[in-house]
Structures are given as C-alpha cells and as structure tokens.
Symmetry: C2
Subunit: 297 residues, 2 copies
Amino acid sequence: MNTIAFAGLGAMGFPMARNLVDKGFAVRGIDVNVEVLARLRAIGGEGTVTPASAVADADVLMLMVVNAGQAEQILFGNGLLPALPDGATVCLMATCPPGAVRHIAQRVTATGRHFVDAPVSGGVAGATAGSLTIMAACAHGTFKAMLPVFEAIGQRIYHVGEHPGQGATVKTVNQLLCGVHIAVVAEAFALAAKVGVDLKVLLEIMSGSAASSWMLKDRGPRMLQSDPEVTSAVDIFVKDLGIVLEAGREVQAATPIAALAHQLFMATSGRGDGRADDSQVIRSYYALNGTNADTPA
Amino acid sequence: MNTIAFAGLGAMGFPMARNLVDKGFAVRGIDVNVEVLARLRAIGGEGTVTPASAVADADVLMLMVVNAGQAEQILFGNGLLPALPDGATVCLMATCPPGAVRHIAQRVTATGRHFVDAPVSGGVAGATAGSLTIMAACAHGTFKAMLPVFEAIGQRIYHVGEHPGQGATVKTVNQLLCGVHIAVVAEAFALAAKVGVDLKVLLEIMSGSAASSWMLKDRGPRMLQSDPEVTSAVDIFVKDLGIVLEAGREVQAATPIAALAHQLFMATSGRGDGRADDSQVIRSYYALNGTNADTPA
C-alpha cells in the first residue's frame, strides 16, 4: 500500500494527505478545487490532471468527501471505480449513514475490489496532528494491509468489526454524543445566564466536576464568546445529527434526545448561522429565552 | 466554628460527618434513624437524645437532608431554628431549587442567624474521600468563617456569589448536565445495541474521543451490566432533574433536553426501577426499542 489516491482535500482531508506525504506515501490528490491541488504539489504530493489518472496505479482510493452522495458520485457517477486497479482498496472515511455505507460497499466489492468503512474522529486538530481516532470495519487481512496508512494519520486505531457499516455506526454514536453534549452545555449556560450566574465561574466549576465532558471543556469557552473563531460549523452537526436520526430509522431505534438536539442546530442554521462555530447553537436558546450571555433577566 | 450540628446522616451525610469528626470538629448528629446515630457515636461524634440538644450550643447547623421540604420541616416545623444560638450559621447543603433556597434563607436571616447556600457535588465517593466540590453562596465574612469546615469535607471550594440561591443554581446546572449526560449515553448505547455493535468496544472508543464525558466513563461500564451495584439511584435524578425544571420555570427559561431526560428517568422509576442504579435509565430505551444489551435486532 504505497500509492494513495486521496479524494476530498478539504479542512480535514488536506492535513490528512499531508501526513501521508510526510510518512513517505505517494499521494495523488483529487479535488474540484485546483488551488488545493497546487498546494498538495507544493508539499510533495501530486495534483494530477484528471481523477482517472490519479487512481490508475493506486493501491488505495481514500474518500474524505462531504457525504455519502459525493462518495457515490466519485466512485460510480464519475467512473473512478473502474479506473482503479483490480484488487485495490476503497477506503471511505467520510461520516455517512451506516445503511449508505453498506450499499456502497456492496457495489465496490461486487467488482472484486476491497472496501474499508473507516470514519474518523478528532476534527481538524486531530487531522493536522495525525492523531485521529479511526473506527475501521473490514476483513482482517484488509485491516492489516491498511494499518501503515492508518498509523500515518491516526493515533487510536480500532478494528470495530468485519462488516461495512459497523465503523459508520460507531462514528454515528460518537456524533450523537458529541452533538448532544454541545447542545446541553448551551442549554445549561443559557439557563445560568438567565438566572444571572457568572458563566466563567460556572465553566470552571463544571469543567472539574461530574458534569464535565470533552465538549464542555472544548466548546464551553467559545460558547461564552458572541462570535468565536469557527473550529467546526453548526451545519456539520445539522448533517451529522441528521445521520444519527437516519441510522435510528434504519433499525427503528428511538433517539429522542438526538432528535431534539438536531432541531436546535437546524434552527440555528435556519436563522442564518449555519457557518458559525457549532458552540453558537446557544443562540437558539438565547432566541427561545429572549436573553443573551450579557443580559440576564 | 468548632461545634457542628449535622442533620441528615444518610449515604452522603454520614461520611461527611465522619470527615468532620476526623478533622477535630465536635459533631452532633441529627437523624430519625437511631442506628446511624449509634454509628456516629462509635466513630467519635455525638448522637444526641433530641435534635434541640444537638443544636443548643452549635456554631453551625449543617443540613444534608433529602430536599427543601425536609430542610424547612427541621428548621421551622420542628422548631430547631429558635434552639440554635443567635448568630450561628445555617448551612444548607442539600440539592434544592434556587427559589426554595432563597425563601428559606429569608426566614433564617430574619432571625439574625447567618445562612449559607452550599450544595455539593461528587457523590458518595466524594463525600467519603473528603473531595467534594462545594458551591457556596453567602456573605464574604460568612464564607471565610466556614472555610475550615468546607476544607474538612471538600477539595474544590467555590464562593459563587453573595446571594442565597446562586449556589443552588450552579448545582442545578451541574445536575442538568449530569442527568442529560447519563441519559444520552443510554440513548447512544441502546442505538448501538440495536445495530449490533459490541458495547464494550464502543465504550472504550467513546471514552477516549471527543464524545467522552465524566458520566460516560463512570456510568458507562455499569450501563453494560443488567443489574449493577447502586452508586446513585434513578430516583435521585427524578428529583434533581425535577429541580432543574423548577429552576427553569422560576425564571421562565426553556430546558427542553433536561425535560426529555427527566421523562426517561421518571418512566424508569414508574416501571418500578427507581431504586436501581441511575445507569439503568437505559432500560427505558430498551423498553422503547424492544431490545436489550444482549439481543440486537
């Protein structure tokens, strides 16, 4: 596994590709954005002329695209799958609904190529540091072959099962917890703001108590700012909690808290704040309560 | 502040009283359970014959009772407040609605006695280890005088404000986060169980990812057991999330996620599991989904 075609050089994909280049892999970029292909060339990768030429002699086609629809378009719509050598591996790392992943896997493996369902967690910071959590589902042999690739971009690498969709499910559950944790911090802070408690003191206490969460510590400080730098956008959780609900529908499992959190992110996006930092879901609570961080009732 | 009347020697109160005894305070127990008074005598405290004699020369009356109603009953119904020396301090450490705390504080301070609103966090483990988080609201001078008492039972001691109710609000927000964090772990695990993901592997991954929370790591392992040891009961969160909703009603702030989590704990209690470990709120999801941890669909 030496030559990697990498599709989707966005905020996550580009630093992942850079880490692969740095570890000695031959990385061939695929992206509609020609500027990002030039950036890839500048750091030692290849920004090839056509996607088909990028995959022509690739061992792996990694997909770090926005959603399952884009993955299907690249593989089947743009005809990249037939251009990929027989016996090569398609590694889908985008966050997708488990059912869609199973469907894509069936179409890929029917052509004799391998498929790895391997979503990641850790955000742009983890992608940049090469410290992503990787939740891979595939046959044992395929996992073993992919391990050097995963080790170049991730730190906590799990083989969660042999069936495509199992990785996506773990990632879905991860996003369920992440999204709800952000929304509930917003609910808690908005209540405290309305009562008139100092949110900085509150954040300090909660960060060290049983009420703490990774998201509280990470998003909490940005939630106290009225327009913080965007680390991850509201619309990412509109999408990811939407995937949670879809995963629930696929197996008819109730996810009422996730559904409620989804509504709050969606309403935030609906008011025009979809590209704001996801901590700003608190604006939905301020809108509901008629308050903000600075004007307790 | 040398002599402490301590009312409410339950799962939390008894180890707190023991830590006070160990640090050299004269501790006089008040409890309807005579066995627990005998236990207090056995470790060096006083299990006095009548509550009035316990408070007669006390510097502080600490209340670690079940709720605001019990605190009111002890102070005003049983006539303990008039028996407490003039200038002594009433320290309410139970989890109570902020409005009820303000009301009790007014009645106490109207008699010339001091009042401290000082709920705690950390559970039985923190009470036993003397490592509680204490969220105190009172006048600066009163806080300073109480500090040696707090340091005997707690590790993270915060003066969150000067007005009674502010401590209760911080504790309320703490419980909002704690209760929702437990419920959403249940929701996530129940979804994963229905899809057929190994919950042990899932717990390990989530514990180290951005999906992590203090509650995930603490309650998660017990959630995988069908009948775990009880560390804190379902009914505690029926009560505490009820207080969250009451705090929200007092200031007319919306707490929709907390309201939903409350419903899930309440339904668990309604099926007869109120005294089960609070991790068993997952049974409400299993009931909803028609599954359990061992029988994925």
